[in-house]
Symmetry: C2
Subunit: 886 residues, 2 copies
Amino acid sequence: MSTEKFVYVFGNGQAEGDAGMSHLLGGKGANLAEMTRLGIPVPAGFTLCTEVCGLYLQKRRYPELLKEQVNEALLKVQSAMGAGFGSGDDPLLVSVRSGARVSMPGMMDTVLNLGLNDHTVQGLIKRTGDARFAYDSYRRFVQMYADVVLGVDHHHFEAMLNALKQQTGKVQDTDITADEWKSLVAQYKNKVLEVTQKPFPEEPQDQLWGAIGAVFDSWTIPRAITYRRLNEIPESWGTAVTVQAMVFGNMGTDCATGVAFTRDPSTGHNRFFGEYLINAQGEDVVAGIRTPQQITLEGKRLNGSTLPAMEEAMPELYKELYAVQNRLEMHYREMQDIEFTIQRNKLWLLQTRTGKRTAKAALKIAVNMVHEGLINTREAVSRVSPESLNQLLHPTLDPKADKRIIAKGLAASPGAATGRVVFEADEAEQWAATGQMVILVRDDTSPEDIHGMHSAKGIITARGGMTSHAAVVARGMGRPCVSGCAGLSINMENEQFSVGGVTVAKGDWVTIDGSTGEVMLGQVPTVPPELSGDFTAFMEWVDGFTRMKVRANADTPDDARMARSFGAQGIGLCRTEHMFFGAERIIHVRGLILAQTESDRMRAIDKILPLQRSDFAGLFREMKGYPVMIRLLDPPLHEFIPHDEEGQNEVALVFGMPIDKVRERVASLKEFNPMLGHRGCRLGISFPEIYEMQVRAIMEAACQLVKEEGFIITPEIMIPLVGLESELSYLRERVVAVCETVMGENSVRIPYMIGTMIELPRAALIADQLAKSGEFFSFGTNDLTQTTMGISRDDAGPFLQEYVQKNLLPKDPFISIDQDGVGQLVRLAAEKGRSTRPEIKLGVCGEHGGDPESIHFFEKVKLDYVSCSPFRVPIARLAAAQAVLA
Amino acid sequence: MSTEKFVYVFGNGQAEGDAGMSHLLGGKGANLAEMTRLGIPVPAGFTLCTEVCGLYLQKRRYPELLKEQVNEALLKVQSAMGAGFGSGDDPLLVSVRSGARVSMPGMMDTVLNLGLNDHTVQGLIKRTGDARFAYDSYRRFVQMYADVVLGVDHHHFEAMLNALKQQTGKVQDTDITADEWKSLVAQYKNKVLEVTQKPFPEEPQDQLWGAIGAVFDSWTIPRAITYRRLNEIPESWGTAVTVQAMVFGNMGTDCATGVAFTRDPSTGHNRFFGEYLINAQGEDVVAGIRTPQQITLEGKRLNGSTLPAMEEAMPELYKELYAVQNRLEMHYREMQDIEFTIQRNKLWLLQTRTGKRTAKAALKIAVNMVHEGLINTREAVSRVSPESLNQLLHPTLDPKADKRIIAKGLAASPGAATGRVVFEADEAEQWAATGQMVILVRDDTSPEDIHGMHSAKGIITARGGMTSHAAVVARGMGRPCVSGCAGLSINMENEQFSVGGVTVAKGDWVTIDGSTGEVMLGQVPTVPPELSGDFTAFMEWVDGFTRMKVRANADTPDDARMARSFGAQGIGLCRTEHMFFGAERIIHVRGLILAQTESDRMRAIDKILPLQRSDFAGLFREMKGYPVMIRLLDPPLHEFIPHDEEGQNEVALVFGMPIDKVRERVASLKEFNPMLGHRGCRLGISFPEIYEMQVRAIMEAACQLVKEEGFIITPEIMIPLVGLESELSYLRERVVAVCETVMGENSVRIPYMIGTMIELPRAALIADQLAKSGEFFSFGTNDLTQTTMGISRDDAGPFLQEYVQKNLLPKDPFISIDQDGVGQLVRLAAEKGRSTRPEIKLGVCGEHGGDPESIHFFEKVKLDYVSCSPFRVPIARLAAAQAVLA
């Protein structure tokens, strides 16, 4: 796309662009044009379009027509503002700002007050009658221009200002006189000459072109490049440059400046909300040097402000502003964040953009706007960030409370929790049993800690990343968790931990905020989440748009109940191994694994079978006919066996085995890389009795419920870690045999499905073969990421962080799916699977099932469902809807 | 393909088939037809083609025309042999045998002497005048038929024979009289009636059709199915059935039977060689009940036989046989293994096929036949099994020695070795330094044991498979190794191991045979390998056909020298980490890893750099301009650090670090899955100084040799474990910088290449991106297999064996590449890499680089080279040539 038009003018109610042209004019320029078209008072200006940026950065010179077009535009601006660029009577001053297609806050440079020189400053004095104001503006301009355009470090100027203050014994900038500012301007210019070996440009045209070049150049400064890489903004987009007439809110008491939101950004209530300051510049409102005043009387009341509201101080201007903001919101049909300046009783709008808001506000605004007829439900659903729902679903720290932060780790599982420190899972369980609130503190956790994690209110680990065992399990349970708390060192002997010089003993109170990663000493009060009617209404609209179903990963009836309450449409992953860790059952599981005789093994199985059966019955009951996908035993056996002497002795005692044999067997199960070891279906093949028991338990529970309670159930039996077609067909045959036997015993027929995880690259590569025996695929993208990328999630901490820092990886691939690599396999497997069995059911049950960006990808490859931890179900529902709408 | 012709007759010098029709007639039937056509005396017969098998097994009935065609064929056979099927005067007896397209020895069933009944047995007596022979043949037929066709277990018949012997007090079958055999036939038939509830079929036609059906059915018995799966023979091929007139070598002293080879199958010498027995049946020669006699006088002399040779006992028949074997070899242009029978002074050939031979013989025969003008070099190269060369390259146990085998493990690295048992690598090194021969015995080995493995004559491990660390490294070094010696238990405290009730102490002598997996007590003498002139000539022909180059994996100048002597055309993988384990350097490597200050780190680097430089100089010198591919440090750091207190104290002392710090650092480097942990290029990114040092050492060595010795060198620098394009481009930049710096310092320019391993699925998936920065790819198919299949090589032992046993896997994927899965990625990466960079150099450096079947695959995807351990280089050269010829 190439055009001969490079400059777009706006002002006096006419504009050459509009809000739809942000790709050419940048967000800022496009909105200024749009506001001008709407007849809203906007200081005139013009925008050099983004194409110029590309051409300039490529060839280091401007297109031929540009100079002419800028000059023409400048003439129009002068005429619109009734001021002359370079005039000694009524000088036009301009701002020169960058404006990319999407907002890149603070990433690029800006120059204000451009056009001032020794000549035009006199005009400013004439026009304003305020020499101090004029010279203050002048020195600000020189400093900013020297810094941004000429590359003279601003500390030079700050030093000179400080020297002046010391000489004159003055403290505040406001104490400095016009003459003193004037003398400083001269000093600044000398410094520029000294550093750059060139005089400061006096000619406004030179100043203008210098500033334009500097803004374009700022597109390629390192922090901008980094920002773009992280936010996936293409380099080729370039930035626009907007040159706009300056207006001043600090010319006297008939001037003001302010920022406002068309609705309350904290609560979402439909009330105009904002702050302003009389005789001030924009940055004064933001910087907090003066206490800002409320714009509306309602705001004054709600905030308990004693300063006059604009509504009372400047009633006419307030009315005008109110009308403008109303106009803008109606026009954009979205809550706006606006900036305005009042210069000598005239209102000017300087910016409008979509306003940021809290999750709660986002929801309320979306719902209200639908009710107000401003937007339709489709738009409402598109506008709420899925991730923001997280804020609504977990307890949070009371924002008013004092916090003594002693450590900061990763925000591994959101929500706040407070409790007393314990260091062992068993202890957590015991204390919790007596009604204590506990926080479990560990170096890292393993499946053996599950019962303790369940009993704790929150978890802290010294090691492990966002996707460590602790983090994953905690998110699954909805337990707040701070993981990878570097510097935290646990002394198990003394039962205490220390971090940053603070020592915390067992039983001491701590509080964690899993949404920020903060660990605090003592009890910090929390506030519970409340799911409003807005939430319910909104989520109903959401579900109207989704194509993919959203299921939950749930291992217990409790999990299942919570999942249903969050709207899960089934269980996508029940990890049966989590059922093995209860205190009463782990001993039998250990017996099963360590048994050396058939009879010992069967004895153990007989004990476990009824427990598993009631587990499954509980799950089916909670899910009330929704599908339940159950994964047969997956992790390495050695995760179940006792590594300590006490546990080994117990097994020896209970099963009458010599302790030597127990130790020998424990040692023989040790693996170098358990992740790639004897686990998943490999166990099912080596120890057929385990899978047979599990399948029997599933089918007996299902038969019982169907017969006794009239349920509709289609158990989905999932074989993990399949890599070979032969594994799946071999096990399928055995699973079918057990299913048929149990149904025969119960004289009931129920439908059931058998499928496989796709979690090894080979499984994806031969998915066409696997679809012969597999009626469904569930992508285990956690393990698939580990094997495809060759990265152990548990060991990745040290280098993954470094990779993200060094921009080698855009983001943690365990959080958002690696579309190029792992995603390529998911797509391939989906295609291959469907080529063999068109009706095959495809879903994902890795952590990525709850990640919005990944969900967009899964929608693209047309999976049938995603499954995630219960607390992320609403997020996934929203992301799934947005993926359809995208 | 369908034909209306199902039956092919041969006999009387005419045959309807020939040797080219083995797909229809089976190998046996085709060769019988061919011999008949050549005018060689073959008992007449006919073959039911393989298509009948498919039709019969599918529909359980025969094609319409079959019966008619069989009857016609039978008439021709009767006429050719001058005997009548079912005749009471001169009965035609036939054998009914299976014959698949390829030989499936012993897998399917055979029936002999068919056509006998109470009526025809009289004819046999008339014709032979030998009632005892006739009834013996009859009872053999009934037993065989009942067993094979009627499913009556042969133990019934053996029991009856034993009972008869007890009754009569006779010991040998030969003592039994005609009447006794006759009575036994009646008993046998009663038993058949009793078991099957049907009388034994008397009618020869019924017998014939029963036998034909049974042979077809035997195509689907379990052992045949298993054999086909293991040998990748398609089920659809089916078997042919050959019905052939019986001739008898046991009708009197004018009868004989024998087997012979057209050349000596042990040495390959061009001399007719074989054994025969007068008045005997074929199985007597094989079974070893009677001492067989030599056929030739030369054989009699060479074997020190005192029994008359056929050449002297039956000079006319010998001449005839000699002419026939000569004719057959000239005709087939291949050494033949023949079976013959002489019935009443008439020679009959019953079989000819390509003869099995030792590796040495294979080589000599191939070379001789080329010299004799019988075959061309292309055929010679195609005929030697690459794997068989293994026999030629390693010392072997003296076949005459006594062996006391105490254990059997996996034949992990071929060759025999004898030495005294030690249990620790250091000890192995110390003992070896004093001139002792040692065998290192370990539970398993790790890189820390390398120096001990190098010092030992052989290695035994209790754990680990064919591709365990011990096995891989031992093969690389050419050290014999027995791995995974189940049941071997080491007691480190008492310094002894025990296995199967035998206890062996440190210092005791043991001998291992790495080609069979046997462990023997004491010193068993070995014989060294000798590479004959035949070998040299042959390998020259081989290299004339290869397209792929063959390189070696070599880490030291010694390895490189050996690799060159075996004809390696470069080094495909130098594992620099193996250079880190020398006693004088490991301490500095440890210092480097554990250092906490820059100066400590640089101090360690300064010590290691000159050592690495001289390592590389040595390699370059040995390789004399052949390419050398050097992999930068790959394995996890914790492999280098001391896990024992002594080692930790040493580091603390040498580097002046607090011991606590050392322990802490050691602990912090522990990983759950080191295979997927902080290793490969991840180390290069975290510890840039290590890679910089290595690249500097490589380039300094190269510059020095170029300047001082006038070498031509193109170092190939390989980055391991790349999964992201950013990793490779990031490191490439740094490697280039060091290379340029070093060349600048030395004022020399030398070409160098930078490339990457492809050993992660993701690397294969994004190979098009990697080829931007990578000038070559080396497929690390060991790790690629581990990650693609999700199988840790070190942990796979317990289930991989089970998988192979249960036919879930055709073979160990670490030995022969998994073409469906891992191969799919190799093919994809090759295509993608070439799409970006058509001239990219592609090779493989995993264990598969030395596996013939894998090499065929690599030829198919057109890799540029394979690299394997030095001892496998000749095997790989041959396989690479055959892959081209295939």
